[in-house]
Subunit: 325 residues, 2 copies
């Protein structure tokens, strides 16, 4: 790893590194970590590309936050406790030479890392078009991780939080619609500073049968879960939790698309037996995270969306693919 | 992770995945791995950027090989056995739509992975300027990893293989010099298909006091090792092993720079007690890897290069930094 570079020292400066976090952190050819017995490691990588995953003028502090948040969300979806992170940052010259960009990015990344006791153990900085690669490693009790493939027939389908605010805010930012000042103020945090559902994910171990985080959109991600579980399911449109702001616009199809196809909220979608309803509702209260039942797992394959009258709606459910767009 | 994307399935097709390699591989929000007792994990990430680490017209098979090789080299430098790898690939449209580029890249990457029993457990593909991020995870017996910081006074300084062929070939490819056809044929493999010293690294456990791989150049990387070990050292210019081709050009300073400042050969530089000379020479024969003593660790700080008469030479020893170039 090219971790002795001066620019990496800038990043490193903004991280707290508890002594117990790793055997060996930044500054060698690799980091070294130890894993407690009866523990599996969950490992994930996500890349953010300028112009695809964020706008060129995104505030660097918020970009640092989001770069880690989307990776933490993968840990949440597995029920894993995030422990260590690596950052592979490719920076164009104008940002590398910028007086504050890198330190602000690092502060945003580092503050969220500190909040979750996640330790930066390595990385790489290179020069080139802006590209942010994050690798995250978490711990989960052996054999208990939440998978996409565990959904069972008659499971409830649940989602956390509100769906669609991030996509609605993005439409505003891209000048595809104009939200009122109070409306954009309500929706923008979901886009710029998503909150990964780390605690919820860990509390769902042994409670949920399957889980996924909503990064590509509710239909796409629930579709991945159904496919992995070899099941079908339905969701009721009117039950999908969304903000009053989004609800106001649901008569237009671009807003419906925020709800069904917009990613970037990084909420969790999970399935659980009906017998778990009371304990899940109690968990929602305890964590102060809304948890809403939106449908049910069934045998077969495919996903049906029901309207308020219980009739099947048609909607394009294909997952987002960067290259088939 | 966005591992359900169609383009990732293309990559996935070219990898062998032994059943025992991971608890859960590609296709969920994260991969899951188990770690044997008394084992530490070594984790590293390296990014290759088009125009910085490789030329735009690099053959995709060789680029796939090299992307993994430079990461395997980090495992070698720790004495770790590489086990798992993740690939974060950012591809411009013209390569994503190219009929063979991605499959050839994947074959080059996959063939080297198979050779070392390394399993692809996850990754991410995104659209944007070409950027290849690889994360590698290896196993090392607890407490025994080779570190940069372990060099002791009077240790011999060793290097594996030949130094400078890759840098000399790059000068030819960049039209900074013209090598004869047999000369470029001799040097080019070091640049395009470096051989990570995986087996050597693991055999140096308990034998070497410190190690680093030479990716930024001998002076820079040995400098990192000395700094981490809080020691000084000298190397004798004439003892640095190089090819007959490079030797022929050593009267010009650009060629000397290949030897002292050229990276990309991915050889190992390590230090060991003088009492270990016989066993290290035996290891060289057993592995059929040349191992050459080039100098000695001393107290203090700094690195001295001695000419054939034992006099100190002056040379620019600053490490390579992408942004200060």
């Amino acid at each position: 790893m090219a971790d002795t570079h001066s620019e990496f020292e800038i990043i490193d400066r903004y991280f707290n590194r508890p002594a117990s976090g790793a055997v060996l952190g930044i500054g060698d050819d690799a980091a070294l970590i130890t894993v407690p017995p009866q523990t599996e490691l969950a490992i994930s990588t996500d890349t953010l590309v300028c112009g695809k995953h964020f706008l060129a003028d995104t505030d660097p502090y918020q970009l640092g936050h989001k770069s880690l948040a989307v990776n933490l969300s993968d840990m949440a979806a597995m029920g894993a406790k995030p422990r260590w992170v690596l950052l592979a940052l490719t920076l164009p010259d104008h940002l590398a030479r910028h007086p504050t960009w890198l330190s602000e990015f690092s502060q945003g990344f580092g503050a969220l890392a500190a909040e979750h006791d996640v330790v930066l153990i390595g990385g790489d900085t290179t020069a080139g078009p802006l590209n942010i690669g994050v690798q995250i490693i978490g711990e989960v009790p052996a054999g208990r991780a939440l998978r996409r493939s565990g959904a069972k027939v008659e499971d409830d389908i649940w989602v956390s939080g509100q769906i669609g605010n991030a996509a609605l805010a993005l439409q505003h930012e891209l000048h595809q619609r104009t939200l009122a000042p109070d409306e954009i103020a309500h929706c923008l945090p979901a886009l710029l500073r998503p909150v990964p559902r780390i605690q919820l994910g860990q509390r769902l171990l042994g409670l949920a049968h399957s889980a996924i985080d909503i990064s590509d959109g509710l239909l796409a991600d629930l579709g991945h879960l159904l496919k992995a579980s070899r099941k079908s399911g339905y969701i009721t449109m009117a039950d999908i939790p969304c903000s009053g702001v989004l609800k106001k616009y649901l008569s237009d199809s671009a807003a419906v698309n925020c709800l069904l196809g917009g990613g970037d909220d990084y909420e969790l979608c999970f399935t659980a037996a009906k017998t778990k309803r009371p304990i899940i509702q109690q968990l929602a209260e305890e964590l102060a995270v809304p948890l809403t039942r939106i449908g049910e797992i069934q045998a077969g394959n495919g996903l049906i969306i029901k309207d308020a009258d219980g009739n099947a709606m048609t909607w394009e459910t294909r997952g987002y693919d960067h290259f088939s767009a």
